[in-house]
């Protein structure tokens, strides 16, 4: 177990470094002078020179990289638009994104888990057919279409829920439903597959042979084992929800880090764009690491297989 944990942690840091380097080199992909591009054609030469100095663009690339890391680690990296350190701009928004992603995940679990499990138990029934249709719709419906449709139905036609913004639970329902629907579709598919695999396993046949009731077989033996991969998928999907939130937050004007990123792109605030991308990617990576470790702690087979 210790070897597995060390190995997993050992790979976490090079990948983290790789992501940071990738984010650093983004700005160098800009054809021409980044400072001129950021400020626009109408900028005065003095303004351009000042920005070049602020972004250390006059230095050789390895010095720029050094400045990037030192600014990043000391928290000095500043937003051009807000004129304050990027992390002080991002963190309050990140909490809002986490809140949205958590609620979306909760909705997805409430819908998908019972649906997937029942669909496996009642395989080839009408319920199974409907559950599979739901799962297909969930993974195929674009959230930039589902969001406006939900607004149209629940906010404009029925007047039940607010269109956008953040002010209490009512404002959270539609964005969370929009964000959670794809995960619900995927989760219902995974739950069904996982439950089917367990239901066909020899130890369940032996439990039935010992005379245990079907009810007890499912609740006591099947569900417990089927839940392990499902919980892993839930954890991994949470990371994906953070990046998926970019579009949902834009539709519902939800003040999260995704919307901040899009605004930063349009105000050409590249240090803020870099920081937003980095924060989302690092959150995603960290969540995946924690899920992987938790999975290994729960399931001994994973440790054995991965240590090999």
């Amino acid at each position: 177990m210790r070897a597995y944990l060390l190995k997993r942690l050992f790979w976490f840091f090079p990948i983290l470094l790789g992501i940071t380097l990738l984010v650093f080199f983004f700005i160098h992909l800009i054809p021409g002078d980044p400072a001129l591009l950021l400020l626009g054609e109408s900028a005065r030469p003095a303004q351009i020179e000042k920005l070049r100095e602020n972004l250390h663009l006059n230095e050789p690339i390895y010095i720029q990289l050094g400045f990037f890391f030192s600014d990043l680690l000391s928290g000095k990296m500043s937003s051009i638009f807000y004129q304050k350190p990027v992390f002080s701009v991002i963190f309050p928004k990140l909490l809002n994104t986490f809140q949205l992603a958590l609620f979306a995940m909760l909705i997805a679990i409430i819908i998908a888990l019972p649906l997937g499990i029942l669909s496996a138990i009642k395989k080839n029934s009408k319920l199974d057919f409907l559950a599979r249709i739901f799962s297909l719709l969930g993974v195929s419906i674009p959230n930039f279409w589902l969001g406006p449709l939900l607004i149209l139905f629940f906010s404009i036609w029925l007047g039940l829920l607010p269109v956008s913004g953040k002010d209490g639970l009512k404002h959270l329902i539609l964005p969370a439903l929009t964000l959670g629907m794809a995960m619900a579709g995927f989760l219902s598919r995974i739950s069904r597959a996982s439950m089917l695999e367990v239901l066909n396993s020899p130890y369940l046949k032996s439990a039935r042979a010992r005379g245990l009731s079907e009810h007890k077989v499912i609740l006591k033996h099947a569900l417990k084992n089927a839940l392990i991969p499902i919980l892993t998928v839930i954890g991994l999907q949470f990371g994906a929800l953070l990046s998926g939130a970019v579009i949902t937050e834009t539709i519902f004007a939800w003040p999260g880090v995704g919307r901040l990123l899009i605004n930063a792109i349009f105000t050409r605030d590249f240090p803020l764009v870099q920081a937003c991308v980095l924060v989302i990617a690092v959150s995603y990576l960290t969540i995946n690491l924690l899920v992987d470790i938790a999975y290994a702690l729960i399931d001994a087979r994973v440790r054995y297989w991965r240590e090999k």
């Binding site: 800009i30 930039f144 590249f270």
Partner: protein
């Protein structure tokens, strides 16, 4: 689910979209840029079956041209990604060692990044445009194919024909293209079908955010424009979104069908 339906429905939808995209100039009742300001935001009617946008442009005509963008991006991204991924995955699996390590660590790095986020960041930096969208999506798209192909090559490497080809002194390129390729087509084809759906969705997402194509209408940009008039002209949101949804669900269904038909996954067991 009815197997015949899971094939007929997607094939029908994809054929209609491909036909519309190919013959958009002949099929479109109006030019996609033709404006009629006094008829702005008109609801669907006989002369404009899907209605008109704020500038009075015909939504159906714009969507016919929009199908071109979606399909061009979907197919090009998948062709480029599958080619690069196939090549790198086959090289990693065939040669192993340090080459394998370098390629797979690069794959790990790109997979550790949430896909759409990197595409957004790249498109933001490169600027909007069809070429840039294809570049951004292809730069990320190949990793899935590389991992899949490498895994398949590791399985195929253990088989007798691979050993025989090696023993007879066949060059690595010959082994990859002549002997390995036919055995890797099925899983790559399945992945490509899901990949087209993913690329269409990603392009529409980027266009929705204002980071996709410019000049030519695309489903994402039409939807992004339509959402501003959700209360007064919901058709501007409903129809372009429905088009993306139909395309994505069709390629997903086709992928499901191919998985069953080609029995991908079972062959390796």
């Amino acid at each position: 689910m009815n197997k015949r339906l899971t094939l007929i429905f997607p094939v029908l939808v994809i054929t209609i979209f491909v036909f519309s995209a190919l013959f958009a100039p002949s099929l479109a009742p109006y030019s996609p840029s033709e404006q009629s300001l006094c008829a702005g935001l008109s609801k669907p009617n006989l002369s404009h079956p899907l209605g008109q946008d704020k500038l009075g442009r015909d939504l159906l005509s714009m969507m016919l041209y929009g199908a071109r963008v979606s399909l061009i991006v979907g197919l090009t991204v998948v062709l480029i990604s599958a080619f690069i991924g196939f090549l790198l995955g086959a090289i990693a699996g065939t040669f192993g060692g340090i080459v394998d390590q370098i390629i797979m660590r690069l794959v790990d790095l790109l997979m550790a990044f949430p896909g759409i986020l990197l595409a957004i960041a790249l498109s933001a930096i490169l600027g909007p445009g069809l070429g840039n969208v294809i570049f951004a999506l292809s730069l990320l798209g190949w990793v899935g194919y590389a991992r899949l192909v490498r895994a398949q090559v590791l399985v195929e490497r253990e088989k007798a024909y691979f050993e025989s080809a090696k023993a007879l002194g066949a060059r690595s390129s010959r082994i990859i293209f002549k002997h390995l390729s036919p055995n890797l087509i099925a899983p790559v084809l399945v992945q490509a079908s899901f990949g087209i759906a993913g690329a269409i969705l990603a392009e529409a997402s980027l266009s929705f955010l204002g980071l996709g194509t410019q000049g030519t209408p695309s489903f994402g940009s039409l939807l992004s424009h339509g959402i501003n008039f959700l209360r007064t002209a919901p058709h501007l949101t409903i129809f372009p979104g429905l088009a993306v949804f139909l395309l994505v669900i069709s390629f997903n269904l086709l992928g499901d069908f191919l998985t069953d038909y080609l029995r991908v996954g079972e062959k390796n067991k």
